[in-house]
Symmetry: D2
Subunit: 343 residues, 4 copies
């Protein structure tokens, strides 16, 4: 399988290159870059020396393309690639929202390819594996969205919590990308912790869309607050919601019921591991696993679910390859079986 | 004023020594240590070279003592000091809970000095300044408690939120102290983020006690979840609660009402600053300020309050000196006016 | 004393503002900024809330000015300020090199004010206190230079080492300033260590100039290699040179001779502390102290001197205020007596 | 191939488990632990969930064993394993020094198995590949030693530098292991930089032994100074030596001669990459590559070589597997071809 990366020069793009280099069936044959065109990949990213390729201005024909462009420019770049017959995973937000009006409201631009929205599949394999299998265009979920949806999906689907839910997420700085900004400047971020996006983060509507679809009757009201943590990789999301009356029980029995509910929901999933102790982002560093820990504050009847993952892998490039594997009929874990690098 | 520190060798103790060294009225005349007795302060802590003192096994007579011992041993050590006529700020949890039974339940030991509980004052100056002024024994609040109570006090006092409240707190590693533990081991904590204490953190009952006292009728049900962030100093606490019907308004008007409510509550406070943008822990690094940012998710009607402080200063040693200043009739900001060290 | 800061919006400028805020004799009355003009200081730097001032486009008349502009523009800005009769500390490199040709060679621009070079004093108080006292224009030393010169000065002055000397320096990222760059981008710098400037760092000629002046006959040949460490503040410099025959002795006796030589050289210095164990940058975090540890590899007869300091304090803003104190007849330690913030 | 790890519970051991899990020919069948015996691997190290094994008190029969025990206890544990016919890579220092007296001097204990010293091979494949191929017992080099020897070997072998050489090394904290110590306590190490081991680090004699063997006539006098950097993984070593007269040339021509000399020395090596820009430890994070950058301070005629690697991979577990591959006739890069994880 000839694979290409559109805009390899951001962190999601470069992580795709790393993972594809180790994939037994895909061969990375072309990379493009908004910056860096004309240089070789290994000049800009010395760790990629063994998969050195020239950074091209335009994508050559490939069987499968990943776009790591920002929103709007991504959709524009994808249209001609689809026309060549290639399958595409789009890592931008362009095809995540089903509704072009909502896209325009949150992203401030008119959607460049609204005719593709109907066929694009929101590529969270744990919720949409069959649709992904038949798709030619995947909207790869955002990193925050993956952590939040995987944390809440079982509880929402089963309706065991009341509508009002808070997701308090903490992300490493690589989630903000490789573009220079004061908020990613080392001396500003190191030894610092802050909240941001309090007037509405762009990942919120896709979380709502996907969670509401699991249980429209529940009337989910999701509050999402992202925070910036002084580390490079990792997202940990802590979700809170009042337990619906009588649905879980309390204490040790309630804990068992919760774990059973979550384990049953994720039975057989290769990349979601329901754990029985608070997980650490470090246990997912560099690999495609999402750890989910459901518990509760039994005193107040509050469900607490902690999820964590590597924002550049299960939150971006790893999930993109997982989608490629499903779309191409490869084993779903192919090229994604490396353990986390610890410590 | 002759001041002494019981158990100087932890991070709260050593921070007290740093701050007392710069205090115009207090003179640090004696320090004791569980470890390190027989050594000089500057041998163990080279940054304290200019206030070098021998680390003694027992406290010499002083006018004012700070105890930085762990709970239980702190109360025991304080009894004879009070008998000498000295005033005392206890930085342990021993005198924070009014109820000896609750203490025993959360700390697992019988209270060593229940006869002192009635007179001890929970030393959060913003809520109890007058009581502190007349006290001879202060229970210095915990770091998480200070951040959480200051974030929620105005909203609870005014009853603008519904009873179910979540406090999601993120702390730097120094909060876990200088005692060796795998959870403070560099390679385990660096590039890592995790939740802990999910079955009940010991700071929870003091938060509840103090907040409930502000508005007993509200029926507060507080869920508190602490997290460990890869940084040395700083706590950021994100609090969430459903806005009670019609109490705040929405949008820009609601935001103004909220800010006014908080600014009015903290009017004149030297160490609480109500800000109109999300605060950063780094803006409090090394000083005694607590920043509080009240806002809301207006879509869902959820109050969000972000507070942050330096866990070793406003969360421990700085607040202890603020209490000393009040108890001794010094200006409340004396020795505490240093700006945060940034970046 | 009315003091002003030209270009307050970099890390050296903002650190000056912090330190001046706590200075008993100087009052910060005006700050200018290349960026940020028109905003208030506290908007851009929330930790400076208590010393809020508007960021002006031009300096108002002051008694004493600090320039934190980059080289070339700094000299240009200083000329009219000197003409008002104000004294000036220039934190740029513009007046550090005595020789305009050398300046042009290393900085690639013609010197904007060569007529001021003769009167400008290289402001390392430990080596030039008397000249500083009478000066109206001080060239504040670079951060690497301060660490390296203070480490080597006693050994060079006394001629106890052979000419070939290596200074291997490690700096925190704040030394690279607040200007955005990929080399200061969090995800690039965190968990990373690298050398740079291997074809000649601009601090080298001022180190050589000052060290050679201490002992021209020695024929010093200095190799200087800076490294970037994943931390915000701090420089540690490790210096190596072959011990000249018979000058120090060996083993415990040699160690004592070395310590005596260094302690004698720095006797009475308020901000240089000769220590007898390897120092940590953390022991200088936020204060104006330089720690110096002289020792040797006695097997090979190699002198090793380790020095460390806070690059923004003794390496920049603190030293600038130390120079101001000397120039204005204030006690040299005024406003600079805060202990390091630890941990 | 059945492989076992003696004392899996330190960082080198757990990294071996991670890498062996991905090795196509070796199967990890048994792990032992000084601590943790009786628990399962995944309980102690959640990232190893997919290669879960019980932690045994004693090693079962295997074809190949790795010992990650500390020195002295390692040699003792290895004797019976060799007797079963298994091949062994010892990651401790026990078989690195050829001379039992030197071992006793540096490690303070009598060598537990001096009869094995003659046959043990110092397992640096780039210098001893053929001897490794035929060995049954490998002394796996120390992390500092690997970085220093690989940096200096070409220059020493070719005799292009004078005898007096300084190696200034900077290591991440994981090199100090998983055993609790104040020097690995997060709050002490974070935002800190320090030198240590100034009276002689235990890796020095093995560096000298191996480098002297390359060119006994040169009379190498090596000074080695390790430093602790605030990061988890990575070693960067900066080496300095005066260029022998006329051996390299100067300027651009000298640079080319140097690069050619180094590239020729390491031609065909799969895990040493001679680069033409200063390397970053981050470019080796998690993989088995050592980057080497030779250059010079042409003004003073000083050779500078910068090398870097991941202390737990090429500096420990990865090199151990590289040795296993050679000893067992597998392709040398088998299981070691993952790219570095960046950023």
């Amino acid at each position: 399988l000839k694979a290409g990366i559109i805009n390899v020069t951001g962190y999601a793009g470069v992580e795709l290159a790393r993972l594809l280099h180790g994939h037994p069936e895909a061969e990375l044959t072309c990379v493009t870059g908004r910056s860096g065109a004309g240089q070789r990949l290994a000049e800009v990213f010395p760790h990629l020396a063994p998969c050195d390729l020239p950074i091209e201005p335009e994508l050559s024909p490939v069987d499968f393309a990943f776009s790591a462009l920002p929103h709007a420019s991504s959709a524009e770049a994808i249209i001609p690639v689809l026309d060549t017959g290639a399958k595409v995973v789009d890592m931008s937000a362009d095809f995540r929202l089903k509704d072009a009006a909502s896209y325009e409201q949150w992203y401030g631009v008119t959607h460049p390819a609204p005719h593709l929205l109907a066929e694009a599949v929101y590529g969270l394999p744990e919720l949409a594996r069959e649709a992904i299998r038949g798709a030619r265009l995947i909207a790869n979920p955002g990193c925050y969205s993956t952590a939040t949806i995987l944390a809440l999906a079982p509880a929402v689907k089963e309706g065991v919590i009341q509508p009002r839910v808070v997701a308090d997420a903490k992300s490493g700085v690589s989630g903000a990308g490789r573009t220079l900004a004061l908020t990613s400047h080392y001396s500003e971020v190191n030894e610092n912790f802050s909240a941001y996006g309090l007037d509405g983060h762009r990942h919120l509507p896709e979380m709502q869309q996907e969670l509401v679809a699991l249980n429209p009757a529940m009337g989910l009201q999701l509050t999402f607050v992202p925070h910036l943590a002084p580390m490079t990789r990792g997202i940990l999301c802590s979700c809170y919601g009042a337990i619906a009356d009588g649905r879980i029980g309390t204490g040790a029995q309630g804990q068992k019921t919760l774990l059973d509910l979550y384990r049953s929901f994720y039975a057989g999933e290769p990349f979601v591991r329901v754990v029985d102790r608070p997980p650490h982002t470090k246990h997912t560093w560099g690999n495609n696993v999402c750890l989910v820990y459901p518990t509760a504050d039994w005193r107040t009847g509050t469900l607490i679910v902690i999820s964590c993952l590597d924002n550049l892998v299960k939150g971006a490039a790893g999930q993109a390859i997982q989608n490629m594997n499903i779309m191409c009929g490869f084993p779903e874990t192919m090229g994604l079986d490396a353990l986390a690098v610890y410590p």
